[in-house]
Structure formats: C-alpha cells, structure tokens
Symmetry: C4
Subunit: 448 residues, 4 copies
C-alpha cells in the first residue's frame, strides 16, 4: 500500500491538493493561462491590427512562457494518462511526434514580427502565422479528458464548464471572423464593432435570427452559411448532451427518483391503499437516505486490497459503535468487513422468529429492536445502536429461542453462519467475548 | 405495523388526505402562496416603482406571514425528507445553517422601506434588497423534490407542471429585466410596456426571433445575448426532457406498446400467417389488460411484511372468489398469497394433460375450463371463476387422470406441490376441505 | 384453436382483411371521414361565416352520419380493446359515461342553426357551439392506440403518419384562429387570407420567424406568444420522438448494425488483422441474413400452443427439406419443432470431431458439409440441404467415428441426445427409419 | 480457413485493400462519381437551361458510363450483401425487378435531347424527365448500408460523413427549386442567383430565419412552408442522431469515462478519503489502458475457429514473451489461448498467499512481482515480464509455499488447475519443461 501512504504526505493544503489531483503544478497553471490568453487575444490582435499597448508585452511574455515550457517538457517529459504504464523516454518520443510542432508554432511571436517587418505582404503572412498560435488551445482537450478520469470533481459539472468554455471561445472566434470580413456596420451604430459582431454571432448561433444584421456581399454570405450550419450542429450537440449532463449531476439521486416514480405509478395503477403506498414510499426513502445497497455493486469490480480499504471506510460507523469491535485488531476488522451484509428492517418487522433455524448474527448500526418473551406477549429486552443479537442460535445450533422485532427503521449488519464460524476460528479472543455475552444472555430471560 | 394503522385515521376527507400526502398543512399552503406572490410581484414593483395600491398591503401581509413562519420553524422544526431518520434538534440546526438567511431576507419589507425613505440613494439600495425577497422561491425546489418521492401523484404530470411553472416565472423575470433596461418601445406602440417585454422575451427564448423588436444600445444588446444563450440552454433542457416526461406518463402502457411493436415487427419480418399474428397480439393484449406479470418484479425488493401486505391487496380478487378461502384465517391467507403464481391460458390450451405427473393445483380467477373424459372425446365438467382443479394428482401422487382445457382466456393462480404441502400441513382445516372436494371428485367421473 | 380457424374464413380479399385488422367496417370508415371533415371544415366555416355552398350540405350529412352512429353504438356496443375481456353491457355503460356527450355535441348541426337564427347574439353562441363538434376528432386518439396494438402495420410508420396528421391539423386550427383574430394582412397582399395565416403559422411553429408578418394589438400578440410556446413544446416532442421513431422502423436491422459497429470498433482498436476482421464481419452478416437467433427470444414468453404454432411456421423450411420428415405426422412435427436448436457453422469448421462423445444429431437446412475419412486425409462423403448426420454416435453411444467439416456457411438444426431419445421412443416409425439410415452408413465407409 | 488465406494475397497496396473492403472496384468508383455529378449538375442544368459548355459533354459521358454499367450488371451480376448466401441468377433477377428502371432512366441523356428538340412543350417534358436521372443517387443509400456492415472504417465517422453528404445535397436541391420558382431577387442584388437561393435555403433550414429574403406569391410561399416543415423534421433527425453519433466515435472510451464518472460520484458521495479515491481511479485507468476485460464479451458469440484466431491475436504479446511457449507448437498455443484469464494486480497486492491451496498458475505479461521468504520478512526472488509462478502448488497439490506480491501494476494471465492439467496431459513436452523449472525452484529458496 506504498502508493497510498506516499501521496497525502506530499501536499497538505487543500487547495494545493486539488491542483495536485488535476495534475497541475503552478507552472502548468501559468502555461494554461497563457494558452487561453493567446486563444482569446490573438484573433482580436490580427483583426484590429493592434500594434501597441500591453498586448504586445503580453504576447512577448507568452512566447517566453511557451518556450520555457517546451524546454521543460523535453528535459522532464510529463507522464500523463496512466502514470503507471508510461515511461519517460517513451513519453518524450510521443511528445516529439505529437504536440511539439504546435507548441513551437505557439512559441514564436509572429504577431510581434508582423509589426516589425517593413514589407506589406510579409506582414500579412506573419499575421496569418500568428493565428496558428491559437492552435495550442487544443491542448485543453487533452486536459479535459485527463480531468474526467483523474479528478474527483463532479464530472457532470466539469463537462458543463468545459462545454461553456468551448462555446464561448468559438463564439468569440466567429465574431472576430465576422469583423475581419468587415460585416455591415449599419444596424446598430451605437455599438462597438466587437459588440456588434458578437451580438450577430449569438443571434445566429442560437438560431434566433432577428434579421437586424444581415450579411452583404458574397464573402459575408458564405461565412454566414457556414456559421448557421455550425450553429445547427452545435445546437444538436448541446441538446443531445445537456439532458444527459444534468441527469448525471447526481446519478444516484436520479436513479432513486425514477425508481420511486415507477413504484408510484405501479401502486396507483393497482389502487394499492393509500396508507400502504405511504409505507412503501417510506421504506424506499429510508433505503435511499441510509445509502444502503449501492456499495456492493461498486465494490465487486475492485481488486481485493482496494475492496477491503473501501469497505473499511464505508462501514466505519458500525465498527466504531459496536463495543465488541472496539479493541479488535486491524487484521480482524479487515477480515470481517468484507463479509458484512447490510439489512434494513421496517418498524414491526420480525427480524428473527422464535423456532426458526438461525443462520445469521446481527449487529445494530442504527435503530431499536425489542426481544420478545417466549410467548411473544411481552418485551424482555430492548437493544439499540452497537448491540448485537442472534448469536445464541449460531453458537448452540439450536432454533431461535426468542422473536426479535424492529421498533423503528433499523439499519443492521448481518454475518452469515459460515463467515461467523471462520471469524471465531481465526480470532479466538473475539470468540471468547461473544461466548461470554451469549452465556450471560442464555442464563438471563432472553436469547437470539 | 403501527405506522400503517395510525396514519389513515388522522385525516379523513380526501382533499385533506391529498394535502397531507404532499406534506402541506393549510399554513404551508398560505406560505407557499405568499412566496409565489413575492416572486411574481416584487420585480414588477421595483421596475414600475409602484408605491401605492393593494400591492403595498400585500407586501406587508407577506412579510408578516414570512415572519410568523420563521418563528414556527424555529419552535417546531419541520422534519422533511425521511421522517424516520431525522430528529428535531438536528432539523433546527440544519434550518439555522441553510434556509434561515433567505427566509429572513424575504421577511423584511424592503420595498415598503424604499418608499418611506427620503434619501434617493437609500431608496435605490432598498429596492435592490427588495429583489432578494424573491430568492425565497428557491424553497419550491425543495418542495418539488419532496413531492416526487412522497406523493402518489403521477410523477410525470408533477414534473411537467413544475417545469411549466419555472419557465413561466423565468420568462416573467426576463421581461421585467428588459423593462428595467428600458428596451425600445417603438415597434408596437399599442402594447403596454409589460406586454411588449413579455412578447419580446417569448419571441427570443423560443428562438423564433421575428426581429420586430431588437435591442438598442450596449446594455440591452448584452442583455439580449445572455437571454439568447439562456434560451438555447433552456431549449436544450426542455427537448431533452419532454420526450422522456411524456413517455413516463404511463410507463407500463408504453412498455407494453413498445413490446407489441417489437413482436409485430418480428412477425411481419418472418411472414407469420395473419391469423397466428392476430392470436399472438390477442394474447399479449390480454396479458396487459389483466395486468399479470408486473407484480413479482415490484414485490421482490420489498421487506417481507410489506411484501405480504401488497400481495394480499393485489390478489384480493381471487381470494374473495374462491369459496375455499372464504372462511380462511388472516394468517392462512398471508401465508398463501406470497406463493401464488399467476398463469394465463389461451383458448384451447390444455392446462393439465391426462397422464402427466401433476405438480400444481390451479385456482380460477377468471375464465372457464372444461374437464375432458378419459378418452378426451367429451366434456365431463365445466369449471369457472372461483373453482379449483388439479388437487387429486397432488393429494394422491398419481398421474393426472383427466385433461383440463381452457375454453376462453383464463386467468389462473397456481400453487406448487411444495407450497401446497406446507400449507396443508400448517392448516389442517383447509387440508380437510380440499380432501373432501377431491374425494367427491374422484368418486365422480372426473379428477384433476 | 377455434379462434384461429374462425377468423381467416370471414374476410378473404386482402384489402378487407387489412381493414378488418384495423377493426374498421366500411361504416366506421365513413364515420372516420366525417370526423376528419368536421375537424377541418368547421373552423373555416366559423371564421369565414360561410353560409352557402356544398359545405352546408356536407354539414347536414355529417350530422346524419353521427346521429346514426350514436344509435348504432347504443344498440350494438362496440367491444374495443381486448375483445376477450369485455362484455357488451359494460361496453355500453362505458360509452354512456365517456364518449356519448362528445358524440352528441358533434351530431347537432350548430353551424346550420347559426345561419337560420335571426338573433345576432344567438348566432354567435351557436357558432361557438359549432366549434365543439370538432372535439369528436379526439376519438382518433383512441383509434391510434387501438391500431398500435392490434394491427400488423409497421408501428413506426403508423406513429409517424398519425404524428404528421396531428401536426397538420393543429397547424390548420392555429391558422384559423389567427384569421379569426384578424391578424395583419399587409405583408403579402397577393396571398389569400388563409394562405397568409397558414404561412405565418408554419413560420412561427418551426421557430424560423422571418418577421415579415408580426402581430399587432394585444390580442394577436397574446395569441402569438401562446403559439410560440406551443411550437417550442411541439418541437421538443418531435425531436424527442423522430429519432426513436426512425430507429424503430426496422428494429432488428438497427440492432444488427449497432452490434456490427461495436465489433468493428473493438477489432480496429485491437488491430486484429484485416482478413480476420473480414471473416468476423462475414459471420455476423450471415447470422443476420439467415435470421437465426432472434426467434428463441421471441418464443419464450408465449404460451405452449402458440409457441408450437409459431415454431412450426418458422422452421417450415427445414421440415420440408429433410426427407425423413416428409411423411411424419403432424403430432410428431409439433413435438420435434420446439426442441430444434439452430446452429451456424463457418467454412472449414469441424462440426463433429472424430473421437468426441456425440451429444447431438444435425439436420442440414442450408449448406454443404463433408465427411472425412478416419485419418482425415480424404473426403468420403458430401452432404447438403435436407441430409442429416451424427446419428450413429447417438444410437450406439460410441465416440464419433468421423470428423464432419463445413464446406461453406451452414445453417443446421441440432437435436440433443435427450430430446432425440424421447422422440425415438414416442415415434417408433421414425426411430426405425433413422436406424436404417445409420445401419447403411455404418456398413459404408462413414458415420457421424 | 481457406477464405482467410485467399483474401490478403489478392490485393497488397493498402489503398486498394481499403477499396476492396468497401466492395468498390475502380469502375464502381467511376460510376459513383458519375452518379454524384448527375445529382448535383442536373437540377442546375434544368433551372438555368444551360445548353452549352463542358456540362453537355459530361452529361453524354455519364450516360455512356451508366449504359456500360447496366450491361455489366446484367452480364456479371454483383452479389452484394452477404456474398455467402446469394447466387448469381437470383442476384440478376433481383436487379431486373428493382434497380434496372432507375438505372435505365439515368442512362438516357434527356437533357441533351431537350436541347436538340425543336418543339417547346417537348423540351419541357424532356427537361422533366432529365430530373429523373437524379433518382440514381438513391443507390448511395444501399452503399451506405453495405459499408456500415462490411468495412472496418469507424462507423460513426462513416455515418456522419454520409449525413453531411445528404444534407448538403438536399440543400442544393432546395436552392435549385427556389431558383426555378423565381424567388425574389431584391434583397441582395450583389449575389448571384444561386448564392442567393442557397443562402435563403440554409437560413430557413437551420430555422435562423433572418427575414431579409421572404417568399412572394403563393407558389414560393407554399414552397417555403414545405421547406420549413422539412427543416424542422431534418433538425429533429439531426439532433436525435448527432449525440449518439458522437458518443459512438469511441464507444469503449465513452463507456470507460461514464463508468469513471459513476465511481467518482459514488466515492465523493460517501466521502471516501482522497488517497483511496486516487488509488481506485488509478486502478480503473490502468484497466482501461491495458485494454483488459472487453475481450471475453466480444469472443463469446463467435464460432470456435474464429474465437481461437482472435484470441491468438489478442494474446500474442504474452505468447511471445514467455520463453516456455517459444518453441511450442501452433496446436498447443491454440489449445492454450482460449483458457487464459487476464488478471490485474495492483501494487502491494498479494497475488498468491503462503498456506493457501493453489488453483492457478500465473504468467507475467507486464509488471514485476516479488517472491517473499516463508516468514514474509524478505524478498527471495523477483520475477518480471515472461516469467511464470504458482506452478509448484499445482504440480504437488500442496499449499502455496511462498507469498508472491505485486511490486507495480501487473498484467497477468492465469490458467486454472483443470485447464493446466489437461494441457500437461496433452502436451508431454511442455509438461516436462514446467516440471524442470518447478524442480529447480523447489530445491532453491522459493516456490509458488
């Protein structure tokens, strides 16, 4: 379990830990910011032929950052996507073959060169090349995929955020293109050219199409047709995704809700009496709120060591509550925790019936049960959180001596005879304690 | 089973019972109404700077209602979401940490104060604060979630209604915002400003975009872009949901219909003769109309006591019809009902064949069967609703002595040998009656 | 099987049979036509105040038809939805409680009365009532549901057609309403009012919204808002349905295609060699084209008599081809057909291997196999359509004596030892024939 | 396996092989090009009444190509869709009944005849007939279906491409129709008629509807209504498909991602400690990257010979690495490969525990394991890629003598005792080698 011990020690502040989870060092963050800046500013810079101001400085700094990043990557190749599989030389090779060209293009300050050059046509070419710097934004696609599988952020929220980011960026680019084409400026003279273009872009992409700004001349008309087709495709993609995205924001809750809906429909259809309907709904809501029932499904695919760790975590409540387990060894708990089966009892349910052959011992995680006398006429004992019952029948192999009934909703953990016997055998200290309790109970007025 | 007995006695009128199901007391209804009123009226009040009239009185009353509600919640904390888990102090704590701020903001009549204040800038601030009162409408989200799991209303209808409510409310808010920005009033001078704004809002949100009203100036243009983006997202959400909603209005029926479609397609594809196709369709329609087959799926997840109650309800018809069960004890029926297996026989089907080893006894819920003579040449008896057959072979362990054939569609309940034997053992009175009938039949010309 | 025999004799012409399947007599067709006519014509008649012409005659005739229909339904109540369950008095009761009011309203010629009355306000009321006649079109909803489960038409095509019908009808109604409101007529003076209205309706419902026709005055504006909201909802519904509809037009084919896509993706991903990929694709395509594999899934839910009938139909090809079965009795084939298991062998596959213990006999439906000599060096026999092999090992309980290899794709039917033995026992004639063939083969150079 | 051997030898160049996969000869490509040309050019030719230029020559050449194609198809009928089932005469029959008419119509140069004829009305009729030549484009639908099941192209990309093709073609046709109707030319005088029409078409189909070009006169208005309805339906279809298409571009990856999302949600919900979450994510990512776990699902449906071939391919890595298998016979490997079970061990996991009864032998495909001394205090051996362990317990039937622990993520292949024993029995050479290794290990300080 060396990996698990090494990791949390490295970074302690929660903010840094989050960054670590995303696989981002502060340097990565800087590069990311520079990439977004280039993607946003470069098209504006080309369109407006902006030669002065802070943008020039920023462009130079960004080039520097990108250049340093290339050097870093070549000297210390990042191992992304499955740290366990990749090795460094292979990663460098992959980098040389894939992203290097794009990174190099992004690192050259073509836009600065364009303002320094004296030849007119050279400036045009350089400005065209400056647009290539924008390509580096594609690296965010890789980041997006990485974060979806590596981070613990809510994945639906993550996808929605990236979605919004890309749509905003594409809208911005389309607006810049419209400006570059010199779209008509007549409709709203009070707006700045960029506002005007962005307004037109959004109007067209969302298919609202007021018609107050329409293209003129074959260039803008062709551009408009492409934007409209793109808008339709984008719309299709949005619509196909938004619903599934929203549904995924809380998968478990929506699964619970649609199950409730099916059950409600069924019961209304069959005219189940109203108070029975309420009981059934209560039961399923209790099940949902106590979060029982999903864990076995999640655990079954994991390899044994991880399964034990997760199960220990998930059942830590009951382990803490039951006094029997208080001094138990780590090994013992690890052994035990995988055998636990969660059981819900509803109020009034007879969990154990007198006369039955007993196959299980129960530990009470939450709730109250009452042990009935042999003729079931009175309550001889009441047990609650942390107690256990049903051990007598398992130890003596005799039928259950008393009925045990749930008083309210009970959250129990059951252990089967086979597992119980194995645990007793492997851990004689524990067996001794259980036998003491059972002995005292048998001599008293009740058993299990 | 105390919960089930206590509940229906509390409220008897069906209307009240429905409210009870929604967890709404009359007071809750009043608060709900006040919340909606504030959400609708407050933006209008701010935009139109309405200082007089009934709205002032209403605003004061609403503040009073909200103030009383806060006091009530603190003194008698409502336990929402799983009455069984929560306890009152925890509920009060949760309330203090979560909704209290919003409730307090909504209870202060900022709008009244705004008209009383003399300072101009103070009025502006107070009017801004008055908008915060609207936030209380978010409580309806909690209500919506609560109703989905607690009420027996058709959940799809419930969702559609809430959906329409939210869209209408958001449209109203957007229209108010457009008015506040002083959008252009030129296009339709015959309309009131509110009509004008709402018309523009709907035109934009539905992406129709006539273009008769377009924004002017950078403020309205920016607002329009946001509304268009919101409209696109909302549209995506609507489209993604409407179909699934409509499909859920009657889940079982649509499942039946799509199953029929698959079967129809298969039979057409394989060119099954037309009269056979009709028979298969008839069978599935009968199955659907007699509502057999869904219950086992619904029952299996329930805890034993609830399962018994529901099964008793679902099979109450056959229990009422079969004379054998008329005087049976409650305990007996509870035992029996979980063992029943529903069986459909089509016209002409041999349910029991002479010479076979018999494993089941059948009770006729609906339909007619005929018992054939040993050479299958004539009908020696006809049985219908409430009769049973097949008991001889089970009692004597001999092969079936007569073939029994369905005359029309028959809805039967079958009991397996194992269950039948256990029932006979546990309930000697019942066993005696069955034996009498069997004896009289064996001495007569037919058996089972 | 009385139902199956009675039905096809009733109607012989294919057209009539189709109508019969839809549950439509010629009279029903007439009533259906009249209903659609009223739904289309009545709004036009109210809006245009059309008092003369053929519409008056039609309206009178329609009233007559509807009146006669009510009398018919009361005297001979139609049993819709599961002929097997319903009985006539119950059906009449249901009719009295449900559709009677709407049918009565539709039968009164309010529109004729409106033109006969002299009082102005009376005419307005009567014209309003005339609109109620349109409600009868709701009966088509019932028809639609009925057809989906009863008819053998392609259900997706059926749904698409009804869909188109309803959208067209609603568009027509909206256009009529727009005319009634006296929407602006300025934009396209060359169009007739109805054309103008319909054009506006479609422009708005499809959310295209050119803006050449916009509402004026609060009435039309309110109407427009409702139509836009309706358009958005309808659009959502269309979009949610169209894809699933189109996918359902040929369910089996689309399931095959998406399976192929998954397999293709997997193989490309794992770089399976190209010729192996082609072989796998060939295999699945053969499986699809020979339509093996779906039938067991479809058969398993059916009651035994129907299952036998359908299986007899589906396997009629092999039964016809195998000479052994040519003179077999009906009873024998019914027994056999449910035990058949379809098997596909690919070219070169060894269906039976020398030395194995044999558990199955194979009948060749389509394809060629070759029987190899004991040392597998040469082909001693070739079998094709209608032949069988593998019987020797089953009869003698010795290991397979020869390997049998598929030459091309083979479509085989296999019978397990257990089923084979039972068949031999029950049908001694058949057993004798099989034994003769086996004997002649064992004495010859090959076996099975 | 004759088919697999014959195929790859036929065509060696990768480009040709790809064409071969699509079932396209160079001639087919020519015909395909001619078909698209006709579909695009013919409507333009009719609308513009273009009588001269290269189009006339092209039209004549296309007619020639189509005529030759008909002759070819009649003399050498193509067997499409399941080469294995169809036979040539049946294919020719099918061709005569289905496509022949359309092919003949497309082969007649009606457009040339129209310019040669002197009669005005004759020219109109001939121009109408020329449009029928376009119908031949429907053949591409068949091609599309064929490619989906036959080719190894990414099916989602294929569908998207065809989708784009059809939408572009339909838009082109709609624009031609609009020109033919003489739609208004006022709005954008600077555009060519075709540009103008196409711009209007896209504006309408995407439901943007600027309103700068609106129809005038009843003909164009009716046309517009049809186009709008078509646009709505097409939009519905696009939206319903785009999402599923995009999801299908990499099915396996998206399945992995949504599984990761469910696991992330679960762990966040249960507040699993951050380092445990990271370990679980690492595990699933490793599983995904090593592509274990999908193959068994894909293999199970295949017939035995194909299953063996595919399994040999998928496991070729481990077979190459393990020295034991280096000289093994082809037959041996075929036998072995179907029994392999892929196992992933995470760092620190005890794959084999001292004292357990051993049931499996493990081959290391990738990764490092360490064999611990009997008291688990020190590492006595380290094994990596190509090594195997666990054989001692299988050979001697004694409990495992040493614990074996994974050092990093390990990709192992396990063989069960049953399979192992059978392999040893069938292949004595291999058994001997294994025993030698085991012997040397037992005498050394470690075992398995």
């Amino acid at each position: 379990m060396s990996a698990s011990e090494a990791r949390p020690s490295a970074l302690e502040a929660p903010g840094l830990r989050r960054l670590d989870e995303l696989g981002l060092s502060p340097w990565d963050l800087l590069v990311l910011g520079a990439t977004v800046l280039v993607a946003v500013a470069m098209p504006l810079r080309i369109v407006f032929e902006m030669s002065i101001g802070w943008l020039t400085v920023a462009s130079a700094l960004v080039s520097l950052v990108f250049a340093v990043d290339i050097v870093r990557r070549l000297s210390r190749p990042q191992v992304t996507g499955g740290a366990v599989l990749a090795d460094r030389p292979a990663a460098r090779d992959r980098y040389l073959r894939s992203w290097l060209t794009i990174d190099l293009l992004a690192a050259v300050p073509f836009d600065l060169l364009a303002y320094l050059t004296t030849s007119g046509s050279g400036a045009v070419v350089l400005r065209g090349l400056a647009l290539l710097r924008v390509l580096r934004v594609l690296r965010i696609l890789g980041l997006q995929r990485e974060w979806r599988v590596r981070s613990s952020f809510n994945p639906a929220v993550l996808r929605l955020s990236f979605f919004a980011f890309w749509i905003a960026l594409v809208s911005h680019w389309i607006a810049c293109g419209w400006m570059a084409l010199g779209g008509p400026e007549l409709a709203h003279p009070e707006l700045s050219p960029y506002q005007h273009s962005l307004y037109w872009t959004i109007t067209t992409l969302t298919t609202v199409g007021y018609g107050d700004i329409v293209p003129e001349g074959s260039g803008p008309v062709a551009y408009t047709m492409v934007v409209m087709a793109l808008g339709a495709a984008m719309y299709g993609y949005i619509i196909g995704n938004v619903a599934s995205l929203l549904a995924n924001i809380d998968v478990m809750r929506s699964r619970h809700l649609s199950r409730m809906e099916a059950i409600n429909n069924f019961m209304r259809d069959r005219q189940v009496p109203r108070h029975l309907q309420a009981q059934v709904r209560d039961y399923y809501n209790y099940l949902w709120e106590s979060r029982t029932g999903q864990q076995s499904e999640m655990l079954e695919d994991l390899p044994p060591p991880l399964r034990t760790e997760i199960a220990l975590h998930l059942n830590r409540n009951v382990l803490r509550k039951v006094p029997l387990f208080a001094e138990a060894s780590e090994t013992f708990l690890r052994e035990l925790v995988l055998q636990f089966e969660a059981v819900i009892a509803i109020p009034g349910e007879a969990i154990v019936r007198r006369g039955e052959i007993g196959h299980r011992i129960y530990f009470i995680n939450k709730g109250t049960v009452e042990v009935l006398s042999r003729d079931e006429s009175e309550v001889v004992a009441t047990l609650d959180d942390g107690d256990f019952f049903g051990e007598v029948a398992l130890l003596t192999s005799q039928p259950r001596s008393n009925t045990v009934r749930a008083v309210d909703y009970c959250n129990l953990y059951a252990l089967n005879r086979g597992h119980f016997d194995r645990v007793l055998e492997d851990f004689p200290d524990f067996a001794e304690k259980v036998r003491q309790v059972a002995e005292s109970r048998r001599s008293g007025p009740r058993g299990g």
